[in-house]
């Protein structure tokens, strides 16, 4: 590269328990460059960015900043160095004004009692906002601004600290098209001012619109850094997915013949405005139906709506040929034989104050009690049966759930639903955050359940596992079903192309 590199991260590695998040990744950005960082979920983009912005420390590797080797101690140190990050969730105080937010912790109060001169604050703020041609009154409350304007405030805040590197993590995920255009204009202005922008996005069309160079990560490794010019859409998708990966996973589909079981569940015209639209699909007995798509494609919301956790504007649920009203509470869904393990088991599934036994039986207590008294012995035997079946460790029904590993906690969450013997099991990211061994056990279990004739809806953002497990794959993008494949015809490229 001819132009001057503002920083270079060399051979950066970082591990978390059970996961190697980054493996000797080298990544550098030039002055005045817009550099896009792309990769699938879990490729290591966020980890890399968090190392650069001081949230994590690397296990090994060095960071050269303006030619000098440095170690970034913490986020505020990164800011002092001139590295600002704009996260998906903003770090703004909604109850303060725009000016207050921009100068938060940076107020020029040299008088007694830290008195803040508001007029001066507002004037300074206006100056910065004008640099970006942002039409925002410094005196209004941040909470009264749209998401796009709040983002503008975040960017202005970064400028006011004289940041030379501005990192944007999925900045357009909640913007409209016009707002996105406006953001791109702003990014170009930053570039003109000689600042560097690191841009992370799932949306490849955006990458093509603004990037000077692109770095592709996959499974924590650097695939390549290339100038955008000369690259095609397909090239990038290929780099993201990796050509050789295709043959690595053996596909053992559960369906032995082409013959399918009866239809267990039919969803028709499911619509929740702005979240998902006109969703139609059916689930057969003995089938694992994979739902693929990017985070935010509306898959989880759709499943939550089917399960009675969210309302819909329109739609029909048909179970075993009978049309039912949309469920108002999960209780009604459970009654007709639906179970759902959630993507965030700690938030939605598990009771950390409970013993394993209590977690396993909580949804089935109606059948384990007489005159509303829980029959202790029967409950315990019932729990032990599932602990053994799923090989949950420790194999002690009285152990506290909180002391268990993530994989075993996930098994408890699944056991809870198996206990209700559902016909239809919705599994949202069931392998999230658990180690490889536990993952394969959960795969085995899913296959077994399908063999027993249950219908499984399987949401995952990891393409290999979707391809390995699913009999049929539905791809969602921006709240719509954009494709459906039988297992045999699906490839990572085909899915990614539809999903991004």
């Amino acid at each position: 590269m001819n132009s001057e590199a503002i920083f270079v991260m060399k051979d950066i590695s970082k591990s978390f328990p059970g996961v190697k998040a980054l493996d000797k990744v080298t990544f550098g950005v030039n002055r005045g460059e817009i550099h896009c960082l792309v990769g699938e979920n879990g490729a290591g983009k966020s980890t890399l960015i968090k190392i650069l912005s001081g949230v994590y420390n690397q296990d090994s590797g060095q960071i050269l900043y303006k030619g000098k080797e440095i170690s970034i101690k913490n986020p505020s140190h990164a800011q002092e160095l001139g590295i600002s990050t704009i996260y998906q969730e903003f770090n703004l105080c909604p109850n303060l004004t725009v000016a207050d937010n921009i100068f938060l912790g940076n107020e020029f109060s040299k008088t007694f009692f830290n008195y803040i001169d508001e007029n001066q604050l507002n004037r300074e703020c206006k100056k910065h906002l004008d640099l970006l041609e942002a039409d925002i009154d410094p005196r209004v409350l941040v909470s009264s601004l749209s998401i796009a304007l709040q983002q503008m405030v975040e960017i202005t805040k970064a400028l006011s600290r004289e940041s030379e590197i501005i990192i944007m993590d999925e900045p357009t995920s909640s913007l409209t098209l016009q707002e996105t255009d406006k953001l791109f204009e702003t990014i170009h202005k930053l570039k003109e001012q000689g600042r560097s922008v690191i841009y992370i996005s799932h949306r490849l069309e955006e990458v093509f619109e603004i990037a000077d160079r692109v770095t592709v990560l996959k499974d924590g490794k650097l695939v390549e850094t290339k100038p955008l010019r000369g690259l095609s859409y397909i090239d990038i998708v290929r780099m993201m997915v990796g050509r050789e990966i295709e043959n690595k996973y053996t596909r053992t589909t559960t369906r032995t013949s082409k013959k399918v079981g009866k239809i267990l569940l039919e969803i028709k015209f499911f619509t929740k405005k702005g979240v998902f639209e006109n969703i139609n699909f059916s689930l057969h007995a003995g089938e694992i139906l994979g739902f693929s798509g990017l985070v935010g494609a509306g898959r989880t919301d759709l499943m939550r709506a089917i399960f009675g956790l969210e309302t819909i504007d329109e739609g029909k649920i048909i179970i075993n040929g009978k049309e039912l009203k949309q469920f108002k509470f999960p209780k009604e869904a459970i009654k007709v034989g639906i179970g759902m393990t959630s993507e965030d088991r700690k938030r939605d599934s598990l009771f950390l104050n409970f013993k394993i036994r209590e977690n396993v039986t909580i949804s089935y207590l109606d059948y384990l009690s007489k005159y509303s008294f829980i029959m202790g012995g029967i409950e315990k035997d019932f729990a032990i049966k599932f602990i053994k079946q799923l090989d949950i460790k420790p194999q002690n029904s009285e152990a506290q759930t909180i002391t268990m590993s993530g994989g075993n906690q996930q098994k408890v969450a699944i056991a809870k639903w198996l206990a209700t013997s559902p016909e239809i099991l919705i599994m949202d990211e069931p392998t999230r955050g658990i180690d490889v061994g536990a993952k394969s056990e959960i795969y085995k279990l899913m296959r077994l359940l399908a063999k027993q004739g249950k219908g499984i809806i399987f949401i995952s953002s990891e393409l290999p596992e979707i391809l390995t497990l699913s009999d049929r794959i539905i791809v969602m993008n921006k709240g719509k079903i954009v494709g459906e494949f039988m297992n045999e015809e699906a490839t990572e490229e085909k899915i990614m192309e539809l999903a991004v």
Binding site: K45, T47, Y56, P330, F351, N353, I362, S369, F373, I402
Partner: protein, 336 residues
């Protein structure tokens, strides 16, 4: 990457909950130990006046009210809510019972009606908290003012005297050698222990307080559980208020002032978590007795009421501090 995003939050949640669970086991011994020391201290300092049959019965009688109401609050606090209005409930139900008895209604009907009316107040609070999703701290703070206000307005501030002997004996009588309130409290405590530990409802109470979102996805009617715990508290406050009215021979609109503090301290000292999901009826028994003995012991030592308030405040502070220390020791011991 999901790991990065959630790792900190999950770890802190896990540690906090772990701390609470392990803490509970150690804490119960800790509180029991403190209780024994307190008894020894007062016995020694009062030169035997503290440990007499009559004084023990007095303490037991006083503590009964805190136990009866504390049982209700234990249910409420395990669901991660709170009810600050119980002191005012005591006054309102006493006044109500006295007003009903004025019309020569039999004692059991008066008691029953009082409990039903108070349960209805609990129902209102429960519906507001569960359905309108208002914060229970503020809602019950409002109810605290409203119910005390009604009691004061109805009576004009003066007590209504009770002439029904059977009703009076609810507070002053004996069943065998044991004061009636003590017997009632024991029955309430034992029943509620079984309800909490052995029934579906009890399990659901822990579930709602432990993880409300998970309770909902597990098919539990969270709103109903929340409403029921407030109804129970209202009903038991009606019972306790009637007993108190019996003991005072009157329905007194100024009764039970500051009572909510005693009860809540007792429940917390007994190991029920302010964050919900954890707690027990036996803990509440121990906590209520501790607070009761503290008050009685200080009175015997001749410490005036005003100073007692100050002393109680400090002792609650120390109790919670010690409680946290033991929890941290417990955690460390577990790790090594």
């Amino acid at each position: 990457m999901y790991i990065n995003k959630n790792v900190k939050k999950e770890v802190s949640l896990k540690v906090r909950m772990k701390e609470r669970i392990i803490g509970l086991q150690i804490r119960n011994f800790g509180v029991l130990f403190a209780l024994v020391i307190l008894i020894v201290f007062f016995s020694f300092m009062s030169r035997g006046k503290f440990i007499t049959i009559s004084n023990i019965l007095t303490v037991a009688r006083q503590v009964s009210l805190a136990i009866i109401v504390g049982v209700g609050l234990t249910f409420v606090m395990i669901t991660a809510e709170i009810d600050l209005a119980v002191g005012s409930y005591l006054a309102l139900s006493g006044v109500l019972a006295a007003a009903i008895l004025f019309y020569r209604i039999p004692w059991y009907l008066a008691l029953l009606i009082t409990m039903i009316v108070m349960a209805t107040l609990g129902l209102i609070i429960g519906v507001i908290v569960a359905k309108q999703k208002l914060n229970s701290l503020i809602t019950t703070l409002a109810m605290m003012g409203i119910s005390r206000g009604i009691a004061l307005a109805y009576t004009g501030g003066a007590p209504i005297y009770i002439k029904n002997d059977a009703f009076i004996s609810l507070g002053t009588g004996y069943i065998g050698p044991i004061p009636t309130p003590v017997v009632i409290a024991a029955v309430v405590l034992i029943i509620s222990h079984f309800v909490l530990r052995k029934t579906k409802f009890g399990r659901y109470v822990y579930a709602v307080g432990g993880n409300q979102e998970a309770a909902l996805t597990s098919g539990i009617n969270v709103d109903r559980i929340k409403i029921i715990v407030f109804v129970i508290t209202g009903m038991l406050s009606g019972l306790a208020g009637s007993i108190l009215a019996g003991r005072l021979f009157s329905g007194n609109p100024t009764a039970g002032q500051g009572f909510e503090l005693d009860v809540i301290s007792g429940v917390v000292i007994g190991g029920t978590s302010l964050f919900g999901g954890i707690g027990s009826m036996w803990g509440t028994l121990i906590g209520a007795v501790t607070v009761g003995i503290l008050g009685n012991g200080l009175t015997i030592l001749g410490v005036g009421y005003f100073y007692q308030l100050i002393a109680k405040g400090f002792i609650i502070y120390i109790a919670i501090l010690i409680d946290r220390q033991t929890r941290e020791v417990g955690l460390r011991g577990r790790r090594i």
